[in-house]
Assembly symmetry: C2
Homo-oligomer: 404 residues x 2
Amino acid sequence: MKNLIVGQSGGPTSAINSSLAGVIKKALQSDKIHTVYGMVNGIDGFLREEISVLDRFSDDNRIRLLRQTPSSFLGSCRKKLPDAVDNSKIYEDIFALFEKYNIGYFVYIGGNDSMDTVCKLSQYAKTHNIDVKIAGVPKTIDNDLTLTDHAPGYGSAAKFVANSVRQIAMDTRVYNMKSIVVTEIMGRNAGWLTAAAALANTPSFSPVDIILLPETVFDKDKFLNRVNEVMSEKNSTIIAVSEGIKDKSGKYIGETGSQLMNDGFNHAALGGVGKIIEEIIKSNTKIKTRAIEFSTLQRCCAQNISKCDYEEAFNAGYKATAHILDGNTGFMAGFVRASQSPYKCEVNFFSVSDVANFEKKVPDNMIGSDKMSVTKDFIDYALPLISGEPDLIYDNGVLDFEIL
Amino acid sequence: MKNLIVGQSGGPTSAINSSLAGVIKKALQSDKIHTVYGMVNGIDGFLREEISVLDRFSDDNRIRLLRQTPSSFLGSCRKKLPDAVDNSKIYEDIFALFEKYNIGYFVYIGGNDSMDTVCKLSQYAKTHNIDVKIAGVPKTIDNDLTLTDHAPGYGSAAKFVANSVRQIAMDTRVYNMKSIVVTEIMGRNAGWLTAAAALANTPSFSPVDIILLPETVFDKDKFLNRVNEVMSEKNSTIIAVSEGIKDKSGKYIGETGSQLMNDGFNHAALGGVGKIIEEIIKSNTKIKTRAIEFSTLQRCCAQNISKCDYEEAFNAGYKATAHILDGNTGFMAGFVRASQSPYKCEVNFFSVSDVANFEKKVPDNMIGSDKMSVTKDFIDYALPLISGEPDLIYDNGVLDFEIL
């Protein structure tokens, strides 16, 4: 019998621990596994032999608490492994530790860099005929992992964005005056999460009129024209802006040398791109404008875990573990959309070498022709992912969590 | 038969529409009332004859949706009435409109300024022998209304603060490095909401170590000593800071002429007091520090409505309406804590002249001796107010609201 080790890496999400719970659940059930270990602080902590036995999760109540715990229960790291050809030492160290702890299976939950780690380690194992199976479970609020229909973590972050935008819009419209709120949303190179602001719009209340994605070029004049157009019809609006929007020269708005910095908006850059957009509106219109940065809450707000994400993240971890225990290696679990209506996604397995280091951006068919909105294709794609609400456990008014 | 009109005023909360629902429910049940009107945008909109008939809420499903709708359903205003002695015109206008619409009862839901309006209008009615009864229902996330044990709206905002701080702390601790998050919280003169960050601490996970209230003097050196003390024992911490903290000269931190501005932190002032505290830490320690401003979400996040607040806000509106229909005037509904364990608050009625224009601050017995924490007295006071979660209605993953 071998042992299994599971780790988490990269930025936290509200669903990553559901995937962890799925891995642990399946591993504890298996008669192929003796001990289930957790890497503390990812591969980085593992190199310092920081590991934790995860026996406690044979208790289903603790599994349930783990699933509603936002952010990486096992801690995280941001480490990209060097190429094995020129840097064999770190690979030798990792596999020596795998041997020391009798590890036969390693499951890594994370985003692009983590899949790169899975790819490199599984190739090293194959090349060196080492019998350690290695697999990845995706997670990213950015939703920029390729091949999989979407990544666990995205649906819950999108639900936070949609509901927060909707609630802020309710707050903004109470006074009898024109007002704009600019919401700054994460996603430096891919606009999936910013696009989710459109999910706040319903037939009875549709507050979001302008969405600025990193996939499009920010054009100040066209933007101001659109702002004026919207505000000639409405008393208040919400503008969703990705932290990663760029000007036509390809520079990030707010980056030294970008056109807007040259135009004198550098003081606003201290407050991020939302603040720059606020300043652009204020200096060109007389409309009360306020920028709100969604901060880390967008990736760790358990009260916005979508049931879809909660179930899928668990399943991805559970089925990846079943697949690795069947002897497979070098794969990432992911989703294939089997049906759009009713929505149905099935877990599938992709070769991790086809996934690592590619970035999936919002495609043209999901971006409006004005380049400041999203299309029905996007709504159809994203809406099922934010649906449903799991029952959360509170203790004296605060969410109860599993703490390592 | 007379008509009843209800209005909302001041800053929004997530519970103010529960109070509105309570008023409407009781008024629609009463055989003393012909029509239930809503003032649109408070007394200000009423003067422009912006009113709305609220018949639709005879449907209990709509009452339920109204109760989970954050922010003022009827719109709001920030208007303080002038003294009647020198400015009789506006009073004559208001009472002429009351007569025009056959208003016998006016219920105003709001904070300090709104209670001032209730006070002035009810005194004018008495002085001029006009038979219009006028009452107030409290609401404020600041919890600074006097006489009442607490104000509706506070419990839900406090729940947002406690849960958000707790979730951000989970996000902050994942990397194997020292880090601090400074959370900036509303409450310019009273620190009740900032103090609620302490409710994030539980025996298993206690992330909040420093709480800076406007009731205490901010002392940079003592603060930095405390930061170093905390960080010598922990890897990460959360600091909760009120937007209204002041230096020993009584100036707001960030205000021109305050000591810290003279010390060169003026660039950070653009980002608010949280950013200034971040800069103070960064320039005196090597610890990674990030400021997060909770923005308007703290007063409009329906996903943090506490059941206690939800029920009490409704009851305050319902019972205030019953009391006004019994012929009473010039009062504010409020709470008296009948029992601490188990928690029990009862609705009581206070003369609004005793309430208007007083500000209730966090008392000494609730502030720690280090002036950077709160005591068990505060926890015992506030914890019941954030307890319980009402069932919320979602539609396709987003909260459903009543829209005027």
